[in-house]
């Protein structure tokens, strides 16, 4: 059907040179780029991460909450950004763009141009004085221009790198005076306490040798000024959804107060208009569906109500409600039934200003049944779509990457992250509109694809730091060094730093004190090392900014000084003291002294800790030999990791064998045959068919799985497991299925006509019914792939036999994303779409018409508002995709199922293929219904995540874990019941009965078990009861004057 079938799956395999580079260039520092960079850097590759703006984080950093879990976006993103920012094997290149690319897969040379920041990264301490002193205000683009920032600015408060930049487009320095000379103002330079402002900086050109390139530059939000009748830019209270995100955000322009731009008053009624820029045919708009807007609009309405309370009225104007993802339909139902969000099926033609004084807005619409509606709203949010910006089109051109008509990178279903250029991969919205989890999944898949291409070069370019041997301190009396930071004037401007330093000298165990202008500077690190050595210090306390950003730095310094990094304690006297008590210097100083005293008290009790290294089995186990399982196994094997593939049936291939074509028109059968041959012939894969798993024990790195196969029992040792067991389709009990032979489901109709073509020739009418068993109270989820499948089948029927009447009976047509093209084509070909309600389902009867056996379908048409009677020859049902009984497997691997019976991943947004249980991953339909390209991307992502465990060769566990005192423990098991990570379990101890045991490899170090233990037999290393109590007692103590 589509003119050109794209298959990049073969092309990308070969490398021109057998000595590839062990480095990868990732373009774009949004969530996809960050994920790809982390996955690669954690599996032995060096990564250059190129970001156009001054900080990574992308659009996700701008969002308030994320659907469907209502997680705070920044909270879940920020740890990943921080990890990325300080990863030894990730080099951030901010304010940079790719200029050119030479060479071929495995050996590229990329030219990257970096613009000057005018602030020296290594000097800037992010105190914000430059911005404070900068006299020039400009619109803050991070806040969508809803407020102002300065020309000297930081992109957002949690930015990584947290460094200021000077905007040369706006800064007065760069504006010529009347004589054409530049160089005025320089306020920032004058006041910068760190001497970081540098107007002499010039742009730099980097030539980077890399083996692969991953494109993750994201999308551009659609500009709604094209819709003149919506008055965006003219009416102050017509805003975009991204502006609304910023309004909701606690760190946004209105500090999280839900007020409207015109008068900063809380709105009482808000409307959302869907499909702005999407699913439209007018010039300047896009035909495709943007895929994410339905969910984000519902989320925004729900969160708005959380902010404003139940009196807020919310209404969403939409065409089809496309809540097709995992837990989306539930979210939609809750929004409608519990939050009272109104859903109105209508496309709004225009917005008018009701009254210039109030700036309220009037919406007029025609409902489906022809009734006219007309209402006032205080605020209207335009749900703008996603598009590809011109800069990305140029980037693709420079790299020779093929784009489709909409400007998205062309990809094939069977190699979803491969571009037309071997060695260049794509993930996220650049290859089509998609949401965060799908982008994250693709990012991991792109990392997996790069890793398998470059696997000979793994570990060749990564850096490792060498430290002097650690001084043993366990038996020594504590000798504590206290370093108090001025942070320029940030601390010293409020807190009396010398007084705090002198006070620290009087505290028990303190052997050395000093104050530093900038404790984080290079030379202070040297002086700390020197002080440790000269004064035989064995503990260090730094009183400065915050451990969240700077503890790792000082821990490095500890190691450089030959001390264990855990003998370090931080006193936060900036972020939580000088900055928040600016008007009370004396009390802030008193607080600083208290905090130092508490830190010293805890420091005296700190113990040296060693990261735990556990040897692991480097084999993988993939369960399920369908499309997803095979792809996961193949990718792991291509990365050189031996993999067992276990399949219940005798043949590989699973349900994909029943599918003839993907929605893009690629033939599935041939692909599956080829794939299974590659799997069966791979040296690094052992396939066990007809196999049944009977037992699983162990944990990450060391699993042992018992498999019954060919009448005998096998024990498989493996370090990780990927669960890819697929799903079923429902056998319905309605619409005469199983009673009348003319009623079939899914691919049975295609099969019937393939086997008996004359049946199609004789047929006059064919109907499809959607949502059979899906989106029902019993099964309140959307099966996601059925709309596209039925519409594609309908198109094929119409193309074979144009005079055939084809009907699709649907509830919401969910040809999401670029599948909208199918819907458009089907309508052009004359496929008739009739919408029905769940409360008023179609009725199917057997009947005879003119002596011919027929099915008679009665359905209420909501546009005509009357019953239609449609005689058809065949009826095909799109029945629900239902989970297999996954209970046993879930118990074996100690992983959870969601309320619908699918596997529940560790985090729905950012860990879409991981389980909370380490070393176990999920992909394919066992996770949720999804189309082929998404299953493959998820399989490759699972392989990438699994490889990050296996390629290390050991599991490193932070030693901050719980410990059990076997003498106090009575084996009650409460800890086991309390642990969300199954990291503590009961074991039999000879002569003692049951005792709790911490599984260090799985423990995350939260300390819930320690605070739960009825016998007080559990303690938390590094946060021991006695350490916390020492800090409490020290804090309560009155200061000696």
């Amino acid at each position: 059907m589509s003119a050109e079938i794209i298959d990049f799956s073969k092309k990308s395999g070969g490398i021109g040179n057998s000595h590839p580079q062990g480095a990868v260039l990732v373009v774009g520092g949004g969530i996809a780029g960050v994920q790809a960079a982390l996955d690669l850097a954690n599996t032995g590759f060096f990564v250059y991460l190129v970001e156009n703006s001054p900080a990574i984080g992308g659009v996700m950093a701008q969002l308030d909450k994320t659907f469907p879990t209502n997680d705070c976006s920044m909270c879940i993103l920020s740890p990943k950004l921080v990890e990325c920012g300080r990863h030894l094997n990730i080099q951030l290149l901010t304010m940079a763009e790719v200029e050119a690319l030479a060479g071929k897969a495995g050996n590229f040379t990329v030219t990257v141009r970096q613009r000057p920041r005018y602030v020296a990264l290594e000097k800037c301490i992010a105190c914000g004085v430059c911005a404070e002193k900068c006299p020039y205000q400009v619109d803050d683009e991070f806040n969508q221009g809803l407020n102002k920032r300065k020309a000297a600015y930081v992109k957002y408060p949690q930015a990584v790198p947290l460094k200021y930049a000077i905007d040369p487009e706006r800064c007065i320095y760069f504006k010529p005076d009347k004589h054409g000379k530049i160089g005025r103002c320089r306020a920032c330079e004058k006041f910068c306490p760190a001497g970081a402002v540098d107007f002499e900086q010039v742009g730099q050109e980097h030539k980077l040798d890399v083996g692969a390139v991953i494109l993750a530059p994201g999308f551009k939000a659609y500009d709604p000024t094209h819709y003149e009748s919506y008055g965006y830019g003219k009416f102050k209270n017509v805003i975009t959804s991204l502006e609304f995100e910023r309004i909701l955000s606690a760190s946004g322009p209105y500090e999280g107060h839900l007020v409207r731009p015109s008068d900063h008053q809380p709105p009482r009624k808000i409307a959302w208009l869907q499909c702005v820029g999407s699913r439209d045919t007018r010039p300047g708009t896009h035909g495709y569906c943007s895929g994410v807007c339905c969910m984000y609009a519902i989320k925004e309405a729900v969160i708005a109500q959380e902010h404003a309370g139940p009196d807020l009225e919310t209404a969403i104007f939409f065409m089809d409600m496309r809540t097709y993802g995992k837990d989306f339909e539930r979210y939609y139902n809750r929004a409608r039934e519990e939050a009272g969000v109104r859903f109105i099926r209508s496309r709004i033609h225009s917005i008018s200003l009701a009254d210039p004084a109030s700036q309220d807005l009037r919406l007029e619409w025609v409902a489906e049944n022809g009734d006219k509606g007309n209402e006032l709203f205080n605020l209207v949010v335009l749900s703008i779509g996603l598009e590809v910006g011109d800069n990305l089109r140029r980037l693709a051109q420079k790299l020779g990457v093929a784009l489709d008509a909409d400007g998205f990178v062309q990809t094939g279903s069977f190699a979803p992250v491969a571009t037309s250029q071997p060695g260049i991969y794509v993930c996220g919205a650049m290859s089509g509109p998609k949401d965060i989890p799908y982008s994250v999944m693709e990012a991991s898949a792109a990392a997996a694809a790069s890793a398998s291409l470059l696997s000979p070069a793994r570990q060749t370019l990564v850096k490792e730091k060498i430290y002097p041997p650690e001084t043993p301190v366990a038996d020594q009396e504590p000798r504590i060094g206290v370093f108090v930071c001025h942070c320029g004037v940030n601390i010293a401007g409020v807190v009396d730093v010398p007084a705090v330093r002198d006070y620290a000298q009087t505290l028990p165990h303190v052997a050395y004190v000093a104050d530093n202008l900038f404790s984080c500077s290079e030379d202070t690190q040297k002086s700390i090392v020197q002080a440790v050595q000269e004064h035989q210090l064995n503990r260090v306390v730094v009183a400065a900014c915050t451990p969240r950003t700077h503890e790792p730095l000082f821990q490095e310094t500890m190691r450089a000084a030959g001390l264990n990094p855990y003998l370090f304690e931080f006193a936060n006297i900036r972020d939580q003291d000088s900055w928040v008590h600016q008007q009370e210097p004396e009390r802030a100083t008193e607080k600083a002294k208290d905090l130092v005293r508490m830190a010293v008290a805890k420091a005296a009790l700190l113990e040296p800790l060693q990261p735990v290294h556990l040897e692991i089995s480097q084999h993988a186990l993939v369960i399920g030999g369908g499309l997803a399982g095979m792809n996961a196994a193949l990718n792991l094997a291509d990365q050189g990791l031996f993999t067992y593939l276990v399949e219940q049936k005798e043949e590989l291939g699973g349900h994909a064998r029943k599918v003839s074509h993907t929605w893009k028109g690629e033939a599935v059968g041939a692909y599956i045959d080829d794939l299974s041959q590659r799997v069966l012939n791979h040296d690094c894969i052992e396939v066990l068919t007809g196999a049944e798993i009977s037992q699983v024990s162990g944990f990450v790195g060391n699993f042992e799985t018992t498999v019954q196969c060919d009448g005998r029992e096998r024990q498989l040792q493996h370090g990780v497991a990927i669960l890819a067991t697929g799903a079923h389709s429902l056998q319905p009990e309605e619409y005469l299925y199983g009673q009348n032979d003319r009623v079939s489901r899914w691919h049975d109709l295609e099969k019937r006509f393939a086997e008996q073509p004359q049946l199609l020739e004789e047929a006059e009418s064919i109907a499809f019914i959607q949502c059979v068993g899906s989106r029902e109270p019993r099964r309140p989820y959307c099966s996601k792939i059925c709309c596209s499948a039925s519409v594609a089948q309908a198109i094929a029927l119409k193309q074979r036999q144009p005079e055939l009447n084809v009907y699709i009976l649907y509830r919401d047509l969910r040809t999401y994303g670029r599948r909208e093209e199918l819907y458009r084509r089907a309508r052009e070909l004359g496929v008739l779409f009739i919408r029905y309600h769940r409360e008023n389902k179609p009725i199917v009867e057997s009947t005879m018409i003119n002596g011919r056996e027929k099915l008679l379908i009665t359905v209420k048409d909501h546009i005509l508002d009357r019953d239609l009677k449609i005689p058809v020859d065949y009826l095909n049902l799109a029945t629900a995709i239902i989970p297999r009984g996954l209970d046993t497997l879930a118990k074996f691997f100690k992983v959870p199922l969601n309320h619908d019976g699918f596997f529940l991943e560790a985090h729905m947004k950012l860990r879409p293929v991981d389980f909370a249980t380490d070393g176990v991953f999920v992909c394919g339909l066992a996770h949720y219904p999804k189309p082929i390209e998404e299953s493959i991307a998820q399989a490759q992502a699972a392989a990438a995540r699994a490889a990050s465990v296996l390629t290390k060769g050991y599991v490193e566990v932070e030693p901050i874990v719980s410990v059990v005192d076997e003498d106090l423990c009575i084996g009650c098991g409460l800890c086991e019941a309390s642990c969300a990570f199954r990291a503590i379990r009961l074991i039999q101890v000879p002569g003692k009965g049951y005792r709790a045991e911490n599984i260090t490899a799985s423990c995350k170090g939260c300390g819930v078990c320690a605070a739960a233990c009825p016998q007080r037999a559990i303690d938390m290393i590094h946060f021991r009861d006695r350490q916390i109590l020492a800090a409490i007692h020290a804090g309560a103590q009155a200061q000696a004057v």
Partner: protein
């Protein structure tokens, strides 16, 4: 009290949300009163009820615990544990006559710098209104609350709450959440009263009447709890002083 009272407040912040929120308040320069003294834990689920009470006993006027919003916990459900534990501590403080408000629990995300500053301002004001705690006057009840927080029975019930009300017990029954809360409340009361008597007996044997006077519990109640203590081998009858029986602690 006088207007000059500046309370000193022990504050626990979890690393991932509330500590980050507090830092954001700093980055954004949202001002709040300088009365809190912060201890960082990885998760609010690390905060042991006994640590809260230790704070009050050692001289803090109140204790604030901050955690992630439900669903945001970096450790999945640590904050649910926190919520139940702190609720119980508040109950015990109420039983002790100190009042629940000396312990405050709030949820703050990493993006809610303003909310953090607002909470600290509001709660500091609240403590100021409550006045100084003067722990020395509450020695006995605080010691009893501490002991109750250490009681295996209460800790066990607290830990099993979700298991029993959301999943099921070994008999595959699911308990009604409200009924379970009632049970927990009753248990807390019994454990507190017992702990009070054990603490009262720490410095030597006492008669029932003496104990009633010391603890403020009715005589009948003292007798009942002593009965429990006798049964579990924690105290026994020493002698009669007139008509009033005199009890002593048994060595552990």
């Amino acid at each position: 009290m006088d207007n000059l009272f500046e309370p000193k407040i022990l504050t626990f912040l979890c690393n991932w949300c509330s500590y980050a929120g507090a830092d954001l308040a700093g980055v954004s320069r949202f001002q709040y009163p300088p009365n809190i003294r912060v201890i960082r834990t990885m998760c609010s689920g690390r905060v042991d009820p006994t640590q809260v009470i230790e704070g009050l006993r050692s001289g803090f006027d109140s204790v604030f615990v901050f955690g992630c919003h439900f669903g945001d916990c970096h450790y999945l459900e640590g904050n649910y544990h926190t919520a139940r534990r702190m609720q119980l501590v508040r109950q015990l403080l109420e039983l002790a006559g100190i009042g629940p408000d000396r312990l405050q629990l709030r949820w703050v995300s990493a993006a809610e710098g303003q909310l953090f500053a607002d909470y600290v301002t509001e709660l500091t004001e609240l403590t100021r209104e409550l006045g100084p705690l003067r722990a020395s006057r509450w020695q006995l009840p605080l010691a009893a609350v501490q002991r109750a927080c250490n009681s295996p029975r209460l800790r066990w019930l607290l830990g099993m709450d979700r298991q029993l009300t959301e999943k099921q017990n070994v008999y595959e029954q699911r308990l009604d959440a409200d009924a379970f809360q009632d049970l927990l409340r009753q248990c807390a009361k019994l454990e507190y009263q017992q702990a009070l008597l054990v603490e009262a007996l720490q410095d030597g044997p006492k008669t029932v009447r003496q104990m009633a006077a010391l603890t403020g519990l009715p005589v009948y109640c003292v007798s009942l709890r002593l009965n429990d203590l006798e049964r579990t081998g924690q105290a026994d009858l020493l002698e009669y002083e007139g008509t009033s029986p005199k009890f002593r602690l048994m060595a552990a």
